[in-house]
């Protein structure tokens, strides 16, 4: 089910990217509205669906941390007592009495039988929850609280599609590079370079979003994790590709040489995407080293913190022994349906779909502009008598 949803959204995004009007004609209005609507839905759902955990995950999250930060706990109100305490039952049917919660719940207009998300902090000394604030009453959907990630888990809707589109862009650029060599059409070279340029943009976005997230989760902006190395290599290749393109004046020559370079670089890219992550210890989910390390399945990272002195490192808890396939696949590719919450699956698929549409929209506009620029250059050359490209070089070359 999960594979069908995410895979279907991914495939549909690419199919819809090509199918109406291709890359060289304007997209129809319904297509553009679909892109805008799904993108808006991704942002709204990705940021808007509230997080609410159970008591145990809240306790796990506060480990190794002061009790200042309240955590969202999703529970139904069983009873409001006269002494100001409230009896709450969470999704795992754990019932806990929280002192001082009754006033906060009553102030928000909620009562007995309502489901609420409360900001609770756990006092380690008294081994009790303290109610801080009321967050939501009867939310339609909630996302689970993941210890060690919390609200940062939402990064999955923004960072992962960007990283995916880097690969899509690379694949499209390589396909058109091959076509431009085979068919010797200028349009193919334009499409290849446009896809590469957009791939570079998404590369930068994926790197930046990943780096900020990593600062708060892994302690450093940059860790030379295998995936970070891979994206760094891809960025260098894109840079080299455009440096090479700018060094050649002749159109046909530029198309051929840059296409060959892109195809040659497939070998290091395949190495860094598929072989290197399995060789070296990594932090990203799905890294090969996790097979040998105990993994806190919920936090998507090895239980041993990568850097010493990290302030929010969660204590590894030996509650659940993760299944073997969970260990080497990560939450998205794992065959275990529990690795990714159903609501998360929907939002994640939506984000893949909408980012793909956005990507193809920009790609479409870029290709059209490049072709228009080219056509104008040609017509200007025709009026001024200066012909660009191979013919001019032929005249200059002494025979």
């Amino acid at each position: 089910m999960k594979g069908l949803l995410i895979g279907g959204a991914t495939v549909l995004g690419i199919v819809l990217g090509f199918w109406p009007a291709g890359l060289m004609k304007p997209k129809p209005a319904w297509w553009r509205w679909l892109a805008i609507a799904t993108l808006a839905a991704t942002v709204l759902l990705g940021l808007g669906v509230p997080t609410g955990g159970d008591f145990r995950s809240a306790i796990r999250t506060t480990m190794g941390r002061g009790d200042s930060a309240p955590l969202p706990v999703y529970a139904s109100v069983v009873e409001l007592r006269a002494d100001g305490s409230a009896v709450l039952r969470d999704m795992t049917d754990t019932t806990i009495t929280v002192s001082d919660a009754a006033r906060i719940i009553a102030d928000a207009g909620a009562g007995k039988g309502d489901r609420v998300i409360l900001g609770l902090s756990f006092n380690r000394g008294k081994a009790a929850f303290i109610a801080r604030r009321h967050l939501f009453t009867n939310p339609l959907f909630t996302l689970p609280l993941i210890p060690g990630l919390e609200e940062r888990a939402r990064n999955i809707y923004f960072h992962v599609p960007c990283a995916w589109l880097v690969q899509v862009a690379w694949f499209i650029a390589c396909c058109y590079a091959l076509l431009s060599i085979r068919k010797r059409r200028v349009e193919d070279d334009v499409r290849a370079s446009a896809a590469a340029a957009l791939g570079a943009v998404f590369c930068v976005l994926a790197t930046l979003t990943g780096a900020i997230w990593a600062k708060f989760n892994w302690g450093e902006f940059w860790n030379w994790d295998p995936r970070q190395t891979a994206i760094f290599v891809v960025m260098v290749i894109y840079g080299a590709y455009f440096a090479l393109r700018s060094a050649i004046q002749n159109d046909e020559q530029r198309a051929r040489v840059s296409a060959v370079y892109l195809l040659l670089m497939l070998i290091p890219v395949v190495f860094f995407l598929f072989i290197y992550p399995r060789m070296v210890d990594g932090l990203h989910p799905g890294a090969g080293s996790l097979e040998s390390q105990p993994l806190d399945s919920a936090t998507m990272r090895p239980a041993a913190p990568p850097t010493a002195g990290q302030k929010d490192s969660p204590a590894p808890e030996k509650t659940a022994v993760p299944a073997p396939e969970k260990k080497d696949a990560g939450p998205i590719l794992s065959s275990d349906p529990d690795a990714l919450n159903p609501i998360k699956q929907v939002i994640f698929s939506l984000s893949f779909f909408s980012f793909s549409l956005l990507f193809f929209w920009i790609l479409n506009v870029r290709v059209r502009i490049s072709l228009l620029e080219r056509r104008r250059e040609m017509s200007r050359a025709a009026t001024t008598g200066i012909v660009p490209g191979p013919i001019a070089e032929d005249i200059v070359r002494p025979s």
């Binding site: 190395t229 080299a240 050649i248 020559q253 051929r256 670089m265 497939l266 070998i267 072989i275 290197y276």
Partner: protein
């Protein structure tokens, strides 16, 4: 001269639709022999006995240097010769490869410019490292890293000359006409292989002699690592040199373009070199050595497949 050369190219390009006409006009002008012997070698080196039997009057005289290929041409045109064996064609390709390599070595030995500068670069690099480190005893990890840094820059400065030199001298055009792309690539690769193996071996030995801490505890694995990484360097640098020659000999592009192709070698090779320097044998790191070898072969093969596309006019 140029028209003759283009005709010659058409005559040996098996896929050119206008080849037949080109073959005829070449036969009329008899320029093929002069061109081919000027480039590939003197006619006395060529084996007259291997010329195809039957009516070869339709063919230009370039068959003196690639008899099997021209036999193939003749057979295709119904010149009354039998189809050449596959072995004949392979032998002819090998001969051409060696001819290209020999030509490069001969022209190099005439001036010794590239060899001298490469050797001096190695000496200067190791000396800079040795003086910078002083009498400090470094760990084998740092020694391996320093050797790799030196090998990278030696490769970047030394191995790019092959195709750029052809373009600068203007001989690339003639090479293109007389030798098919495959043997050209293989010949240049061979030259680069020898150069990079020699320079890397000298570099490694000089490091071990001159720098305290760089020790060769397992010589056989050290040698294998250097051999495999030299092969990778040569493979990556040959095809990228051909690309850059096409980009108008922009020397500054060389490290930029080659870095992504070299990085897997660095990632694998530094660790392998460190392990070999601390005395681990070949068997203990066979997996990583295999990976290094596979990457080197893969980049060579990719270069071979793609070379055709950029070399042709």
């Amino acid at each position: 001269m140029r028209a003759a050369a283009i005709g010659f190219a058409r005559a040996i390009d098996l896929s050119d639709p206008q080849r037949e006409g080109a073959v005829r006009s070449l036969q009329a002008r008899r320029t093929g022999s002069a061109l081919s012997s000027a480039i590939v070698g003197s006619p006395r080196k060529c084996d007259k006995r291997k010329q195809p039997a039957g009516d070869s009057s339709l063919l230009p005289n370039f068959e003196v240097c690639c008899p099997a290929l021209s036999a193939h041409v003749a057979w295709e045109y119904g010149a009354g010769v039998s189809k050449p064996f596959a072995g004949q064609i392979v032998a002819s390709l090998l001969r051409q490869t060696l001819a290209v390599a020999r030509k490069d070595f001969q022209s190099e030995l005439r001036t010794r410019h590239a060899l001298n500068s490469l050797a001096m670069f190695v000496v200067v690099t190791v000396s800079v490292m040795a003086f910078s480190i002083g009498t400090e005893r470094i760990t084998s990890g740092i020694a391996a890293a320093l050797i790799w840094v030196s090998m990278f820059f030696t490769a970047v400065t030394g191995l790019g000359r092959s195709f750029i030199g052809e373009e600068e001298r203007g001989t690339g055009f003639l090479l293109r006409l007389t030798v098919p792309p495959g043997p050209t690539y293989a010949g240049k690769l061979l030259v680069n292989l020898v150069l990079s193996l020699a320079s890397n071996a000298i570099l490694g030995l000089m490091f071990i002699v001159m720098i305290r801490g760089a020790e060769m505890k397992a010589p056989e694995s050290f040698l294998v690592v250097v051999l495999l990484s030299s092969a990778g360097f040569a493979g990556a640098m040959t095809i990228i040199a051909a690309l850059i020659a096409r980009a108008g000999s922009k020397g500054a592009l060389y490290p930029v373009l080659s870095f992504p192709a070299i990085l897997p070698l660095i990632v694998l090779g530094v660790d392998l070199l460190r392990r070999s320097m601390s005395g681990i044998g070949i068997a203990a790191m066979a997996d990583d050595l295999l990976l290094l070898g596979v990457y080197s072969v893969a980049i060579m093969l990719a270069g071979y497949l793609l070379f055709d596309l950029i070399w042709r006019e």
